[in-house]
């Protein structure tokens, strides 16, 4: 199982000081946070993609390319890459390039984007969101899996004998997660391709997450990729920790009460009861995270949102120390001991290259037997 962090990349006022970081400060903070993730032994760093203020990460592969050069083991990913408004050709090229730069430490999470005005800025319409996700991804798949592509569709100019370069590293494209919160169509898409399904559950009650993941698992089996338990599932989560849980609540409350995504609605207590948000001691975070398994089954990737609500960089780095030193080592051990037999590991490039080689060898043997 992989553990990591994902960032939205929002520029948010720190309510305790009244000050917002500049875009430059925020971008540098995100880079520092990613490097810290590797330092404390996390597996994954994923960045969001946005094209409107107050968000900064409009160019994820630029950012991940820098992080690739500054890290050795961290898997670089997204949360999410907009499969609707980006040209699938450019996604194919950018992420194959990043694969080579990062020696395969790359995967990608597809998402639609829920901000209506962004679509027309890229010549699209949010009402076509699902159809765009389906057509663009079908093309992206072919651009990675086939060397020469001739293609015609509804949304993009046709392609004649086109080769997307560079080709995926070792002939194996980045693993794809499909992220969706509410759309069963996307769970169905992930299941159809046998790709991963990431449910960003951070603002949602467990019952909803369970329903979406269960749908994906059933359909994954329906399409013949394995048993429902073998489907590849990722979840989000957001936490704030201090050794003493009262200290965590006291320190985080002003951030919760004023954050654009949390504030001025339910109380911190109500929100932590109804969603995965956990504010307390590392032990409380461990117990809460382990409980996710009770309603989605054994899963492969857990990403935490740590740099939220306008928390200053120094605080976020302290949080990552606690996460990497006290929480994740216990979670690794506990999840591993609970895991049922036959549940696959989280996907990595070397493992997928080996699996592809094995597949090719079997195919060849079969041919020889037949001839």
């Amino acid at each position: 199982m992989q553990f990591g962090i994902f960032t939205v990349g929002d520029v948010t006022i720190d309510p305790t000081t009244g000050r917002a970081p500049s875009e430059h400060e925020r971008i540098k903070a995100m880079l520092a946070i990613a490097q810290k993730a590797e330092e404390v032994g996390l597996d994954v760093f994923a960045t969001g993609e946005h094209h409107n203020p107050p968000f900064v990460p409009s160019s994820p592969t630029t950012m991940l390319g820098y992080i690739a050069a500054r890290t050795e083991n961290l898997i670089l990913s997204t949360s999410t890459t907009l499969i609707t408004t980006n040209d699938p050709v450019k996604i194919a090229e950018d992420f194959a390039m990043l694969q080579h730069v990062a020696d395969g430490r790359v995967d990608v999470m597809m998402g639609r984007g829920n901000t209506g005005p962004v679509y027309p800025w890229f010549g699209k319409d949010i009402r076509d969101g699902i159809d765009l996700a389906i057509e663009n991804y079908a093309l992206l798949r072919r651009l990675w899996d086939e060397d020469v592509v001739t293609w015609k569709g509804k949304f993009r100019t046709p392609l004649q004998s086109f080769t997307s370069t560079p080709r995926p590293l070792d002939g194996v494209a980045p693993f794809v997660w499909h992220g969706s919160i509410r759309s069963p169509e996307i769970a169905e898409q992930a299941a159809y391709y046998g790709d991963g399904f990431f449910h960003n559950n951070i603002f949602w009650p467990a019952s909803h997450t369970q329903q979406m993941v269960n749908l994906y698992r059933q359909r994954y089996a329906h399409y013949g990729h394995g048993t429902p338990e073998q489907a590849v599932v990722g979840l989000g989560g957001q936490v704030f920790m201090r050794r003493n849980s009262q200290d965590a609540v006291r320190e985080f409350r002003p951030y919760f009460d004023n954050a654009p995504v949390y504030g001025h609605g339910p109380s911190l207590e109500e929100f932590t009861r109804e969603t995965p948000l956990t504010v307390g001691s590392p032990q409380q975070v461990i117990e809460r995270t382990l409980s996710f398994r009770d309603y989605v089954g054994d899963y492969q990737r857990q990403l935490f949102l740590m740099d939220h609500a306008g928390l200053p960089l120094k605080t976020v780095l302290e949080q990552l120390d606690l996460l990497g030193e006290e929480v994740v080592p216990v979670l690794r051990k506990e999840f591993a001991s609970l895991r049922k037999a036959g549940v696959p590991d989280a996907p990595t490039h070397p493992a997928r290259v080996a699996a592809a080689a094995e597949e090719a060898r079997k195919g060849k043997e079969k041919e020889e037997v037949q001839s």
């Binding site: 699902i130 079908a138 169509e185 009650p205 329903q211 269960n214 059933q218 399409y223």
Partner: protein
């Protein structure tokens, strides 16, 4: 049969609830149903939280589900500023857009003066028409002076008989039109349809169909 009564009265007891109860009694006199009353006052903060968090707290989810699963609905609001109350509108803003399709709805309103009596026609009826409900012809408005008047009792009886008649199961086995079939199916906690597909209430369109629909001719 399930009869759900939504009352947006704010005081306790309220004249809005009083009208709602009388409408319910007039209905169950003619159809075998146990009315379930939803007092929006009790759900007011949960309704506001649903707007800011995007999901309903458990009690509100149960209320929304009850409305969606009802065979008939009575909806009564006080008149505020010449229209339905904000709380009443907020509750119906949170209803799944298909949850009321084809459902018989009896509308009622209360106010301090008879001058607002057309509020049922210019405010409530268009709201439920938008939600594709079957809004019954008789709507009941009760001003302060109506409570001591015989006319109100007559209108309540007529409205109850109408709702009971439309709640009764159809005698012949007619297939509803396609657009309505999914919408009137039972729903799960989150409002998803439960009878169309066994997979936890999600209606799955096989992926090949979606791909094929996009293929260039």
């Amino acid at each position: 049969m399930k009869l759900v009564v939504v009352s947006a009265g704010l005081s306790s007891p309220s004249s809005t609830r009083l009208l709602a109860d009388r409408l319910a009694a007039a209905t169950v006199a003619h159809v075998d149903a146990e009315p379930e009353v939803i007092e929006l006052r009790d759900l007011a903060t949960e309704i506001a939280r649903h707007f800011v968090t995007g999901f309903p707290p458990a009690r509100l989810a149960a209320a929304l589900d009850a409305v969606a699963a009802a065979d008939g609905l009575i909806a009564v609001t006080p008149v505020f500023a010449g229209s339905y109350s904000g709380l009443f509108k907020s509750f119906f803003d949170l209803i799944d857009k298909d949850a009321l399709t084809g459902k018989p709805v009896l509308i009622g309103a209360t106010g301090g003066t008879a001058r607002h009596s057309l509020v049922t026609e210019h405010a409530l009826r268009p709201l439920f028409t938008y939600l594709r409900a079957l809004v019954l012809p008789t709507a009941v408005y009760a001003a302060s002076e109506d409570w001591g008047d015989d006319g109100l009792a007559g209108r309540i009886t007529r409205a109850g008989v109408e709702l009971a008649r439309f709640m009764a199961p159809a005698t012949e086995d007619r297939a509803p039109d396609v657009d309505t079939a999914a919408a009137i199916a039972p729903r799960s906690l989150t409002g998803a349809i439960t009878s169309v597909d066994p997979l936890d209430g999600f209606r799955v369109v096989p992926f090949e169909q979606r791909l094929a629909a996009l293929r260039a001719e």
